[in-house]
């Protein structure tokens, strides 16, 4: 070995020794594998008009800005159209994850016009949604004091393990609420929550029962004035762009969300490449820690 060979080996070995062991790599790998598989399937089926039937049990949860305004709208077996019952626990384990930080965004105050400021997806992309039924379903889930939702506005369509899902916002009196609906249950699968005027993101968790156990997909849409969405999975030490996502929407494979355990942290940037300040930083689901999943 020449002196240069030796110096190279020593230099590389020295720097490699500073790299600590990864944490929970297997969980992160499984989540990423599922994302890759889903993307490959999506690519393989792109351009075809056929929509495969979803033969899994899907449950959908949309979590909100606080414990009191979190509602859950379970989704029945595909095609049954009958939601099954769940019993959410009131005891959230907020200690498992840091509190979210939401900074001022300069967005308009909550009003009936506020949902209109979110860019919507084309009608053709959500032609499968039965909007009148969704509106009725949503109205039935809103807590006391909420007006019937109006101006439902789909923000994005996601490809989840439970099939296509769309996240939308709606006006409820002076508030803006959000919901989600799966193509597998286009009339009843709605979940809602209150979002405040400075909300930098709307997120939903879609749960799918699979042979290896339940798995969760996180759907995130950043607010109109927001920018890129970054994610930090449990065990990771840094935030990274969500692979394959657009700037303002993201599908995040969460694996199995366990009550009281850390969940993925997301960071929504301000859309200004010069500053890249986080408008929101905290657990996916606006600071809620999934008390009963």
């Amino acid at each position: 070995m020449s002196p240069l060979d030796s110096h190279l080996h020593d230099t590389l070995t020295q720097h490699a020794a500073d790299v600590g062991a990864p944490v929970d790599l297997f969980g992160a790998v499984e989540r990423r594998a599922r994302t890759l598989r889903r993307r490959r399937v999506a690519v393989a089926t792109a351009g075809t008009a056929a929509v495969a039937a979803v033969a899994v049990v899907g449950g959908l949860t949309l979590t909100g800005g606080g414990d009191n305004d979190t509602l859950r709208a379970p989704i029945a077996h595909a095609g049954s159209g009958t939601p099954s019952a769940t019993s959410p626990s009131p005891a959230a384990s907020a200690s498992a994850t840091p509190s979210p930080v939401t900074t001022a965004t300069g967005q308009p105050a909550a009003s009936t016009n506020y949902p209109m400021s979110w860019p919507r997806v084309p009608d053709a992309a959500v032609a499968w949604v039965d909007w009148p039924a969704v509106q009725r379903s949503m109205a039935g889930q809103l807590p006391a004091g909420f007006d019937p939702p109006q101006h439902l506005r789909p923000l994005a369509v996601f490809d989840t393990d439970a099939g296509a899902a769309t996240v939308f916002v709606a006006a409820s009196g002076g508030r803006t609420v959000a919901g989600a609906v799966l193509q597998a249950a286009p009339t009843a699968a709605v979940a809602v929550h209150d979002i405040d005027a400075a909300a930098a993101q709307v997120s939903a968790i879609v749960r799918v029962a699979a042979s290896g156990g339940a798995v969760d997909d996180g759907l995130v849409v950043a607010a109109p004035t927001a920018g890129q969405i970054l994610v930090q999975q449990p065990g990771q030490t840094t935030y990274s762009p969500v692979p394959g996502s657009n700037a303002r929407t993201a599908t995040i494979t969460l694996g199995r969300v366990v009550p009281g355990q850390p969940v993925a942290q997301i960071k929504v940037l301000d859309g200004n490449g010069d500053t890249d300040k986080p408008l929101y930083q905290g657990p996916i689901g606006v600071g809620y820690t999934f008390p009963d999943v």
Partner: protein, 181 residues
């Protein structure tokens, strides 16, 4: 993947993840990209796991996936083409540094960061993993002749690297000084 295969893969990840992360770090130059690279490479391996019959060849397979993935990232320009180094892991020589060669190692490390990605990968596989030329060729998906020429060009670049000459000119060993004469 059935449960037995899943457990087998989990065992592989547990046993190899630290080594893979170190190699990925040397290829990428920063921890975040290294984690991303290892996770992606292992995720692709996870999907292929049931089809991989020769378990003895797994390490080579994963290394090749890592190299190809990094190349793919570079082509998509999703990651920087120049390698940002983690400042926290830099080893700038300090007054009284116990390492006599700290300056040289520091200069070499930064010079490595300026190598093209494939040359850097070849150097890491040859001088850190200490793979043979044939093994390196398999990991890079090229011929052994290409490995020889790639490593040769990398070494020449390291010798010619302006930063290396500037940072460590006083400590350059003879073979590094030769290119500057």
């Amino acid at each position: 993947m059935d449960q037995a295969a899943r457990e087998e893969f989990r065992d592989y990840v547990t046993a190899s993840s630290s080594a893979l992360l170190r190699t990925a770090y040397l290829m990428t130059g920063n921890r975040a990209d290294a984690e991303d690279l290892v996770q992606t490479a292992l995720a692709k391996t996870y999907l292929a796991w049931p089809r991989i019959r020769d378990r003895e060849a797994i390490d080579g397979y994963v290394r090749r996936v890592m190299v190809n993935t990094r190349t793919s990232w570079w082509r998509k320009s999703r990651h920087l083409t120049t390698v940002p180094h983690d400042e926290a892991l830099d080893r700038r020589a300090q007054p009284g540094d116990a390492f006599a060669d700290a300056d040289l190692r520091d200069a070499l490390w930064h010079a490595l960061g300026r190598l093209p990605r494939r040359q850097r990968a070849a150097v890491v596989l040859r001088y850190y993993e200490q793979l043979s030329e044939a093994e390196t060729a398999a990991a890079l998906g090229v011929s052994t002749g290409t490995v020889k020429s790639t490593v040769s060009r990398a070494l020449r670049k390291l010798r010619d690297d302006a930063g290396l000459q500037h940072d460590a000119r006083a400590d350059l060993p003879i073979e590094l000084q030769g290119a500057n004469r």
